[in-house]
């Protein structure tokens, strides 16, 4: 369903978001049937596109969304469920819209189950090998062929995000053949395009998420797209396609400090740097402050001084292991903490840089 349609003169951005929050007939070997985290991720990404996407060179013109909410309480406009037929139909509408001009930007985002074999395959809601014995992989599509097929689309900037596991199917499962189709046919004459393909995790690895909340990768991606990885270029804060790799840095820092399970996104097929988003303000950064044992107790308070520090003192947790401090901009900050019984830690002075940084107190 096209949930956004705005008149845009000239170059525009066209987006297609898929969220599969439930797989009624998924074989248990391939993962849980309830995947409300994927629905939450897709809705969060679509929400960001609709409300916060700031690309002055190509504003958002259309946004297609297909969504199987599952247990996620979706309250947006009515949309089609994420069956393979609906995904194909809406992909075609997205492709046709983006294909109108070489100056367009095309954004494809998928959240759901995935399998990595000789290539990466993504699963629609009606993936049901038990009842499709003649074509067990009906309901799946090849992400790699879809990528090659997007080479037919005139849009010179294409962003493809895949929030899905890339684990292998069990050895006794009928593995996908080489003939599983993509959403578009590969072309031998692709357009010249800057088209990074960003997977939430490496091949063979799972992607993590908690039920009902956007998954780790999508959280980190939205953090980056909100400007956390932006750089000042030609007098303006700008985020380009080359900055998308920073999503890996964000996830690595978060996971290193046990905010999310460890996973490494994979940014493939990128090699250029095309300006994408512009921000009026410097990027917001985040300091993750780990307290020394002396003050690591509920009731401890953190005081921060610096150019973009929050006012007042910040209480510890939950969880009681760290403070997450949003800072208006990067710079040199001084951190000090007071424990519940007056114990002191710090002051510690650190230069905090985007997108996020850990401070040991």
């Amino acid at each position: 369903m096209r949930i956004v349609e705005r008149p845009v003169a000239g170059a525009a951005t066209h987006a297609f978001v898929v969220g599969v929050g439930e797989y009624p007939n998924l074989p248990p070997e391939l993962g849980p049937r309830d995947l409300s985290s994927a629905a939450a991720s897709a809705v969060a990404f679509a929400d960001w596109l609709e409300k916060a996407y700031q690309n002055p060179a190509a504003p958002l013109a259309t946004l297609e969304l297909v969504l199987t909410p599952g247990a996620f309480p979706y309250a947006g406009p009515p949309v089609e469920r994420a069956t393979i037929d609906h995904i194909r139909a809406r992909f075609k509408a997205f492709f046709d819209a983006a294909n109108q001009s070489a100056h367009n930007v095309a954004i494809f985002y998928f959240a759901g189950h995935g399998v990595a074999e000789s290539a990466s395959f993504l699963l629609a809601e009606d993936f049901d090998p038990a009842h499709n014995q003649a074509d067990p992989w009906f309901g799946a599509f090849s992400m790699d062929k879809t990528y090659l097929g997007l080479g037919r689309c005139q849009a010179a900037v294409q962003l493809i995000f895949v929030e899905a596991c890339r684990t292998r199917s069990p050895d006794d499962f009928d593995t996908p053949g080489i003939d599983v189709p993509g959403l578009a046919s590969p072309t031998k004459n692709p357009v010249q395009r800057d088209a990074p393909l960003v997977f939430a995790c490496e091949a063979g690895q799972p992607a993590y998420g908690e039920p009902g909340r956007p998954a780790s990768f999508t959280q980190a991606l939205l953090h980056v797209l909100a400007g956390a990885a932006a750089e000042k270029r030609a007098g303006a804060w700008e985020l380009g396609t080359d900055h998308l790799a920073r999503v890996g840095d964000v996830l690595a820092v978060w996971s290193k400090h046990e905010l999310v399970p460890t996973q490494y996104p994979e940014v493939t097929r990128s090699g250029r740097s095309t300006p994408l988003l512009r921000f009026a303000e410097p990027p917001r950064v985040e300091a993750i402050v780990r307290p020394s044992p002396a003050v690591a107790s509920p009731g401890a308070r953190l005081h921060v001084e610096g150019p973009g520090a929050p006012a007042g003192e910040l209480p510890l947790g939950p969880p009681a292991r760290r403070w997450r401090v949003p800072l208006v901009k990067g710079g040199t900050y001084t951190f000090s903490a007071t424990g519940p019984a007056g114990e002191q830690a710090g002051p510690t002075t650190e230069h905090v840089a985007a997108p996020c940084q850990v401070v040991e107190l």
């Binding site: 000789s118 790699d144 080489i178 590969p186 031998k188 840095d249 994979e266 044992p293």
Partner: protein, 363 residues
């Protein structure tokens, strides 16, 4: 695994009683994570208030497993299969039973050799002290052709380094990730490769993109591996068509290097040349062997996919491409994603013995 407010018990019939497992229990009701070692069949005494906890076990065979649990006054029984396998589970999964899992937290890199289930520290390769953002050359060992497990803290990389690799670097990014990088005798190529696969390593700051890539291609004789990196880079940026003759020269000067057949095939496609020529280049690549770089193997798959579905490709080539893709599939399936050069996950045997020769039949 049985968890209650009093303690943690772990059962596993496949492991000998007494096998140590490291555990970590975290939750808002705990000021800091509870850590310790519980042995199979024995109980670790704990005092947990009712609440939500994340229980992580480092299991010698299954790796690192985690489960979020609500612990009330009743005990919770959890099967290992219900636990999430965490990334970087391989160090202890591959290490011999009885290894102290807590030792994995040591901030150093150490090499282990052997095979899954029978790993031993490599005496020829002393442990390396490393820090974030560093690149350290691994001391040379007797035979790079073996499989190594590189451990750094709780991370590990299991990789088979090609036997003729001149040097292997351990790369620790500022975000704490550890990778192995077989060096191509050329710092410029190494930096460009780092930029292509991650973009976050210190040396990559010096990368000049296309200019570097062109220089690498020009220095093909000194470093064919570096030239391959340059060729892959220009394919990504769409600049390959500007130096098409160089791509042809690479393929014909180094006919036994499959990477150059792959890059030549794709350069022809980018230039809009007939698909049949590219198909022949891809078929040459498959017959020559396995590309040195992972990027090459994936590009080979993509190139074959493009042409075998193209109606303009002659029927005999489509048939040959189909057969080639079937041969490549097990190799692609077993690719180790951590390593930019083509290597397989530990324990995989993707290429069973075959009578088919691995010599280049020529174009």
């Amino acid at each position: 695994m049985r968890v209650s407010s009093h303690g943690l018990e772990v059962f596993d019939r496949s492991l000998a009683p007494g096998t140590p497992l490291a555990y970590t229990i975290e939750g808002d009701a705990l000021p800091e994570a509870a850590r310790g070692v519980v042995r199979i069949g024995q109980r670790a005494e704990l005092d947990l208030q009712p609440g939500v906890y994340l229980v992580t076990l480092t299991h010698p065979r299954l790796g690192r497993l985690a489960k979020r649990l609500e612990i009330g006054h009743d005990e919770a029984l959890v099967r290992f299969s219900e636990m999430i396998e965490e990334r970087r589970s391989r160090p202890t999964a591959l290490a011999p039973e009885g290894l102290d899992p807590e030792a994995a937290a040591a901030p150093r890199v150490e090499a282990w050799t052997g095979r899954p289930g029978a790993w031993t520290p490599d005496p020829t390769c002393p442990a390396l002290a490393v820090a974030d953002g560093q690149i350290c050359p691994l001391p040379p060992v007797a035979d790079w052709g073996r499989v190594f497990v590189l451990r750094h803290g709780e991370q590990a990389v299991a990789v088979r380094i090609p036997a003729d690799t001149p040097r292997v670097d351990v790369v620790v990014s500022r975000s704490g990730r550890t990778r192995l990088r077989p060096a191509a005798r050329d710092p410029q190529a190494d930096a460009l490769l780092d930029y292509m696969v991650g973009g976050y390593v210190v040396e990559s700051a010096t990368v000049r993109g296309g200019a570097d890539a062109r220089q690498l291609i020009d220095r093909e004789r000194q470093s064919p591996a570096g030239a391959a990196v340059g060729a892959y880079y220009l394919l990504r940026t769409g600049e390959a068509v500007d130096v098409l003759d160089d791509y042809a020269a690479l393929a014909h000067n180094f006919p036994l290097v499959p990477d150059f057949w792959v890059t030549w095939g794709w350069a022809q496609l980018h230039a809009g040349r007939p698909g049949v020529d590219a198909a022949d280049a891809f078929l040459c690549a498959v017959d020559t062997g396995v590309p040195l770089y992972r990027e090459g193997l994936e590009l080979l798959r993509d190139g074959i996919d493009v042409l075998r579905e193209d109606e303009a490709t002659p029927a005999d080539r489509r048939e040959a491409l189909h057969a080639a893709l079937l041969r490549l599939s097990p190799l692609l399936r077993a690719l180790e994603p951590d390593c930019p050069v083509t290597t397989w996950r530990c324990g995989e045997t993707p290429d069973p013995p075959s009578r088919r020769g691995r010599t280049n039949p020529g174009p």
